[in-house]
Amino acid sequence: MMKTSARLIYFSSASNNTHRFVEKLGQPAGTTARLPLRTKDETLQATEPFVLVLPTYGAAGGRGSVPKQVIKFLNVESNRNLLRGVIGAGNTNFHDSYCIAGDIVAAKCGVPHLYRFELMGTDEDVSTVHEGLEEFWTQQSSR
């Protein structure tokens, strides 16, 4: 497995919506890492505590909402142990399934679902997450 010390690890499908959001956050090079697009590709191994950003595509009733590539990544126990929080991407059009993949991962791993945004995120989402993450990591390191 390819090792990464990124503090922000994300999955984005070929639509690149989540990828664009992460780019807009303007994090320093090497502090973000994208999970492989194809499930059969080898997943990443985190070496530092990180926040996971993942999209939901609006499955009915939440079944199959978490992208397979994210499941493969979280099936690695050391990755789960380093997960500190989740940020969900989605679309409010999906009613109670809005960002449900983030809810599922947060519940299964016992970490907070820190924020939800739609599609590639607005400027306001970008600045809220930018500042929120800075604060979050400060709190985490003082623990």
Partner: protein, 330 residues
């Protein structure tokens, strides 16, 4: 007008056809979206609309007329998208699987159009229904929005068709969708709102997919042409927006909701742009949708779900969510 060098695998519907092989996908998004759309399939007959009769009778005459006009307007858009819009995209498809997805979209739009008739026949008299349809034929702003989109659907530019189609799916419906969300927030016509939510969910997948295919097709274009299309997108959105503001006033001025509906329009216009890969244009000061409407749309969209904004004191770590996926190892 610039002619498009857009790569298409067939130039018209009547050309040579090859058997579609779903075991050899050129774009995995086609399979993913097909599965999502077929998994979301629904019919209005499954929703107990007659449970709304009592609630319907609590509306004033003006509110009833407004509701019926809104639904005939939505019926018109679904009719266009089902019989013209989605079908017009087929000759421009980048893959055979994309063509197949458009046939699904076209059919579902016809289901949407028919579901409004189910609502009408459950709640209203034949005369009321005829009056509402007459209004939709005579309202200049509704007809104008239909005409603007239809002109692009009949044009030759596949990329512009995709833009018009995405804007229809992700923006033009929302002056109408506002009202059933408003009634739902006031515990009225809740079964009707359930039907509309199913439509809203479908339109999100449609707008996402057509917008995604637009972006894929853009990859084959020159920088100059990309700029032309970006300018065209913002111009078309503004043209439709200005018309939409007047249409909204025609409908909602009488009940004093126009300003609130406009915020919902701005919010959705931004999402239409994002579906096309462009930055949102309306600032947060004008996209602050009424929280009751947002919560009728999605119960998870309110501030209580934002850990970063300080409402974290009452914040609970994820509720247990059912998941049946066998792939998890833990």
């Amino acid at each position: 007008m610039t002619t498009s060098p857009e790569a298409t695998h067939s130039s018209s519907l009547l050309d040579h056809v090859e058997a579609i092989n779903w075991n050899r996908l050129e774009d995995e998004k086609d399979g993913e979206v097909w599965d999502r759309l077929t998994g979301n399939f629904w019919l209005p007959e499954k929703i107990p609309l007659s449970n709304d009769i009592q609630s319907w009778n609590t509306l004033t005459a003006e509110e009833k007329t407004l509701t019926m006009r809104v639904f005939t307007g939505l019926t018109l858009l679904d009719t266009i998208q089902g019989t013209v819009g989605a079908v017009a995209l087929i000759p421009h498809a980048l893959t055979q699987h994309e063509e197949a997805v458009y046939t699904n979209i076209a059919f579902m739009e016809s289901v949407h159009a028919k579901s409004y008739s189910s609502i009408f026949s459950t709640l209203c008299s034949t005369k009321e229904i005829d009056d509402a349809f007459r209004w939709s034929k005579e309202n200049a702003n509704l007809q104008r929005k239909a005409q603007i989109v239809m002109d692009y659907y009949h044009g030759a530019d596949g990329l512009k068709k995709r833009v018009a189609s995405t804007i229809l799916e992700s923006f033009l419906f929302y002056s109408g969708f506002y009202l059933p969300m408003h009634w739902s927030a006031h515990a009225k016509l809740t079964n009707t709102a359930d039907v509309i939510r199913l439509i809203i969910r479908d339109e999100a997948v449609h707008g996402y997919y057509i917008g995604y295919k637009y972006q894929r097709a853009l990859e084959n274009e020159t920088e100059e042409r990309r700029q032309e299309l970006k300018d065209y997108t913002y111009d078309l959105l503004m043209e439709l927006y200005e018309n939409e503001v007047q249409y909204t006033a025609d409908l909602y001025d009488g009940v004093g909701m126009t300003e609130d509906v406009k915020k919902f329009l701005h919010y959705n216009a931004n999402k239409a742009l994002m579906n096309l890969g462009y930055e949102p244009m309306f600032p947060k000061e004008v996209t602050d949708v009424n929280p009751a409407i947002l919560s009728a749309l999605s119960p998870n969209a309110d501030e209580n779900h934002d850990f970063f904004s300080g409402s974290g004191s009452s914040y609970v770590i994820g509720k247990a969510v059912e998941t049946e996926d066998e792939d998890w190892d833990f």
